[in-house]
């Protein structure tokens, strides 16, 4: 499918050799929203959770220490920039790399929390993400082998051969696992249950936006 059909009017292209970045309102909107959210995260302070204690009438505060706060803010900003890069990129393999980077950063954001349930969930999500790097990178490599290019602008003009369909299906499995949606969500669900809200939200937001962009890319490659 042509990217004009999917993303609206073509506002312009940025040719960088083989990789041609194309700017459509769709990409630009996703890119701008993610950058805006990253800016919000860079400026905001973390929330404090209040937990009721068992067998007692006390409340305990779950706070984020200053050192952990700095580390988490840094990783969240990088995560936001990586997701924004995945929104605007015009190269199939760059997209997979941004995707894998977002996966690692999601683990990194929750790596210093004290709740063992969150760490357990992060461990399980990391395992799924690592296993899914096989279909993710493998699918991109199979598409490269079948068509000889990774540029989305060229791929969208090509008819899909059976090998490309196979590669795209593999990539879909990889994307689902890396971003922790539908069949794999059980591993990621507990990861948000900790203090420090705006930084935790980027975990959710990045995977949501990446899924939207992945649908566009798969439609570009397949039709």
């Amino acid at each position: 499918m042509d990217f004009v059909t999917l993303g609206g009017n073509l506002l312009g292209t940025i040719p960088l050799g083989d990789i041609v970045l194309y700017v459509t309102p769709f990409n630009l909107f996703l890119f701008a929203v993610l950058l805006g959210f990253t800016l919000l995260i860079a400026l905001s302070k973390p929330e404090t959770q209040v937990e009721a204690t068992m067998h007692n009438l006390n409340n305990t505060e779950v706070k984020v220490g200053p050192k952990e706060f700095k580390q988490r803010r840094f990783l969240s900003i990088i995560c936001g920039i990586a997701s924004a890069g995945a929104m605007i990129t015009g190269d199939l393999f760059n997209f997979t790399l941004f995707m894998a980077l977002v996966g690692i950063l999601n683990i990194g954001i929750v790596s210093a929390v004290k709740q063992t349930t969150v760490l357990n969930s992060a461990f399980n999500y990391g395992l799924i993400a690592m296993m899914c790097s096989l279909p993710l990178f493998g699918g991109a490599a199979i598409i490269l082998a079948a068509t000889g290019t990774l540029s989305l602008a060229v791929l969208s003009q090509m008819p899909a051969s059976p090998m490309v369909v196979f590669g795209a299906v593999l990539m879909l499995i990889g994307i689902l696992g890396e971003s922790g949606v539908a069949p794999f969500f059980a591993s990621k669900a507990e990861m948000f249950r900790t203090a420090g809200s705006p930084f935790i939200v980027i975990i959710h937001l990045s995977s949501l936006f990446i899924i939207v962009r992945a649908v566009e890319i798969l439609l570009l490659v397949l039709w």
Binding site: F93, M130, M131, A145
Partner: protein
């Protein structure tokens, strides 16, 4: 088939499908093994096997572009392994912190506490491996050789530091780096000014790059070790 240059031998072209099948089968066997195993440290190691299968599939393409894709793939794989093992260790330490007297959980087979092993191989093998790595790196020359030799230096420093022995700190390592940079520049200049000495300039550049990368990688390893020890 349009994109394959005519000078590529037929044997290489027929290797593509077997390589992809091999990668997918290795991945399948590894995931089966993960499904059967219940101990987390084993799952982590087996997951790395799936990552290796990914390298199979990517490298099966066998073009220059694919070679450029293998390196980020490897780095991503390494980073994820490091991150997940760090998570595992942190979790086990938190569990022990919360309740030091309880028994170790059955599912995890790691025990993140320092303990000493008195085995001869722990003292002799790192030196030998470091020597082999540095020798092989010098033989390779260039960027790859520098990385390999630097890896040897890092291994040597890490194994010495882990045993509590003092590490010989090279204060002049920055100087070596600078001189090798000059070698590299001179090599390049000679290559353009006097092309008939191309072999000399090639070796100047290659050895300069080797020293440069090796000293850089070694320096990073030493600095990292110092930084960790501070905490």
């Amino acid at each position: 088939m349009l994109f394959i240059p005519p000078y590529v031998p037929e044997a290489f072209l027929t290797m593509y499908l077997p390589a992809i099948y091999a990668g997918l089968i290795v991945g399948f066997i590894a995931t089966m093994a993960i499904a059967m195993k219940r101990q987390e440290i084993h799952i982590l190691i087996l997951t790395d096997l799936v990552g290796l299968a990914m390298i199979f599939v990517v490298s099966a393409v066998g073009t220059d572009l694919a070679e450029a894709l293998i390196l980020p793939g490897l780095v991503v794989e390494l980073a994820e392994t490091l991150a997940i093992s760090e998570i595992l260790i942190t979790r086990e330490m938190r569990i022990i912190e919360q309740d030091p007297r309880r028994n170790l959980s059955k599912s995890s087979s790691i025990f993140p506490q320092p303990f000493s092993l008195n085995m001869e191989i722990m003292t002799t093998a790192p030196n030998f491996i470091a020597l082999v790595l540095i020798g092989y790196g010098i033989f390779l020359t260039g960027f790859t050789g520098g990385a390999v030799a630097g890896g040897g230096i890092v291994l040597y420093a890490l194994s010495k530091k882990a045993r509590g022995l003092p590490v010989l700190m090279l204060d002049g390592i920055a100087g070596v780096s600078g001189i090798s940079w000059c070698l590299w520049i001179i090599g390049f200049l000679l290559f353009f000014v006097a092309p008939q000495y191309w072999l000399l300039s090639l070796f100047l550049a290659a050895c300069g790059l080797l020293l440069k990368v090796a000293s850089k990688v070694g320096l990073i390893g030493l600095l990292m070790r110092e930084d960790i020890d501070k905490e």
